[in-house]
């Protein structure tokens, strides 16, 4: 629209008139067309309003309302921040997500690079399919898989004890049901996710760029430092943000693993909903809004980075 207006001012008066006539005529017809166009969108919009937007609106609104009197208040937030347990839950959730996102991003990227360089096509496809299965294998079954592997009587725990005399639980003070145990479990679904997200970006790295760099005397390191990484960076940051959001909102895995003994925000919210602990619903809303705020930052970074990806990788 702007472009057309700019052309119009540069052109002579007659063409300006012509373009005015041209745009006015369809506009008269367009009215009913536009209305029917929007009508076709209404069912979906209404569905999203009812089950997606309103729950979010409700949570934000209730977080500013006193749950007993119904008056507007900031008490829920001050209540949330004044209790060390809640602040600690946010710290735990954020550090858990940062650690698993970074671990997943780093090793996932290297693995994806290795996968991208695989010659054998069938093996490559097999690994991609396997990653796709592993990325979808999460929640309660994943937690139990790790209990069977690294739990107190888990297969690997017992194996290490019998064969190598390494006692994970009593000797090394390891426990699956703590923060670092959760890191191990979350990394399981972060790694394949990272592989799947990064592969297309790696695939779009043109071999010509490397050849050109090598011709100009760049070493392998310089190529990565000056060409590949800067091009990949938006994709990598976007992927890391996605991994962060993915583990920040995860509830089922942590709950099935530790049944609420790990203090993270999703588990606190579940407590509020189930009324297990005498927590105030207002506090639950404040916690939920806190989660939304943290995730909004991650998601906006994600979309901002995706927009920059398109510049070099022609998506």
């Amino acid at each position: 629209m702007q472009l057309r207006a700019a052309i119009g001012t540069a052109d002579s008066a007659t063409t300006l008139n012509q373009s005015a006539v041209k745009t006015r005529r369809p506009r008269g017809i367009n009215w009913s067309y536009a209305i029917t166009s929007w009508l076709g969108f209404v069912p979906f919009l209404l569905f999203c309003l009812l089950f997606e937007i309103l729950p979010a609106v409700m949570i934000i609104q209730s977080s500013f309302v006193d749950s007993t009197t119904g008056a507007l208040t900031l008490h829920n937030y001050s209540n949330m921040l004044s209790q060390a347990g809640n602040v600690h839950a946010f710290q735990n959730s954020i550090s858990l997500s940062v650690v698993t996102a970074l671990l997943g991003a780093f090793f996932g990227f290297l693995a994806a690079y290795g996968l991208n360089n695989l010659r054998t096509n069938w093996l490559r496809n097999l690994i991609i399919s396997y990653s796709s299965i592993a990325a979808n294998f999460a929640g309660v079954p994943l937690a139990f898989a790790f209990v069977s592997t690294l739990g107190v009587t888990g297969f690997v725990t017992v194996l290490l004890l019998r064969w190598f005399h390494i006692d994970l639980y009593n000797g090394l003070n390891f426990s699956l049901y703590t923060f670092w145990g959760l890191v191990l479990v979350y990394t399981y679904f972060q790694l394949p996710l990272m592989i799947l997200i990064t592969l297309p970006a790696l695939n779009a790295l043109r071999p010509e760029w490397r050849e050109a760099a090598t011709n100009l005397g760049a070493s392998n390191f310089t190529y990565w430092r000056r060409i590949a990484l800067p091009i990949l960076l938006p994709s990598l940051v976007a992927a890391t943000m996605l991994l962060f959001a993915n583990s920040f909102g995860a509830f089922a895995t942590a709950y099935a693993l530790a049944q609420g003994s790990i203090n993270i925000v999703p588990i606190l919210i579940a407590f509020v909903v189930n009324g297990n602990v005498n927590l105030d619903p207002g506090l639950g809303n404040a916690l939920a809004v806190g989660m939304i705020v943290v995730l909004l930052i991650a998601v906006s970074l994600y979309t901002a980075m995706l927009r920059r990806v398109s510049k070099w990788q022609g998506r």
Binding site: G40, P43, L46, F47, L49, E52, L54, P55, A56, V57, M58, Q61, F107, L110, A111, N117, I127, S129, Y130, S132, I133, N136, F137, G139, V140, P141, L142, F144, A145, V147, S148, T149, T153, V156, L191, I195, L196, P200, R206, E208, R210, L242, A245, N246, G249, F251, A252, T253, Y255, A256, Q259, P266, I269, A270, V272, V273, P281, L295, A298, G314
Partner: protein, 300 residues
Amino acid sequence: MVQAARNINLPISKDRSTRQGFGVDKVVLILVLLYLTVPLGATLIFGLSTGNGINFNTYHQVFTDPDFSQTLLLSFGLALASTFLTVLLVTPTAYWVQLRLPRARPMMDFLALVPFAVPAIVMAFGLIEVYGTNNTLINILSLGLVPLLSNEPFNVVNTPQLLVCAYVIISLPFVFRPIDNNLRAINTKVLSEAAYSLGSGWWRTFLTIIIPNILPGVISAALLTFSTVMGEFTLASLFGIYTFPIYLNGTGQNDAHKAASLTILSFILTLICVLGIILLVRIRPGSRGKEDRLDIVAAK
């Protein structure tokens, strides 16, 4: 064209990497694959071994448990309903937006992105609050629909129906993308105009021209939704509906060996769904080389 050029160039880059030999990336790849496999193998053995020797006793116990078949059936029904509703809601809308309402695309993108910022646990909390308490603001904003849905005869409060609707929302991010990508790839507008000019109506065009062309995207979206709902725990647990993952969690807390067997079973379920996507989508000619065919469930 660009795609073709890229495909030709790919083998060259691979040749170089083989000359470089076995680098750090390959080592990491093997370690990662090992990391992804060990828990599965360990769980399989753990489920089969009960002290001494291997036996299939736990599997027998699992299959004869009435709760097992009951919850599995419920989850299956929920998954079918959610998949059906998702495809029914998203596919025509995506087509409609592509064809008649390009202006609504950013809104569609936004709605498909919201589940990332509002995770399942928050969504469940919000839904329980919306459909359970009487709130004037919500009543007005929903155009009177929430009170209608919260009271008889359309009461959805804490019912499987509400759960299905929530599952549809949760699936949006990975349902809208593949369908939309496919719609963009097939030149929807030209196909539709050709069909219209030959006298075909909207629905006929949609069902007989568009759907067959975007089938790979629809299938992968449907199977991903199905697999997600089969394993979804958060919403079902907060709504208090006894689905398969809830049963799995309850059993697992008491009997670790039984839990291991159930875990293997649900892994096989995931396996079937993902293999279904791979076989149905990738075997079709023309879908090769498309990198966005693998869409991932990111909402756990």
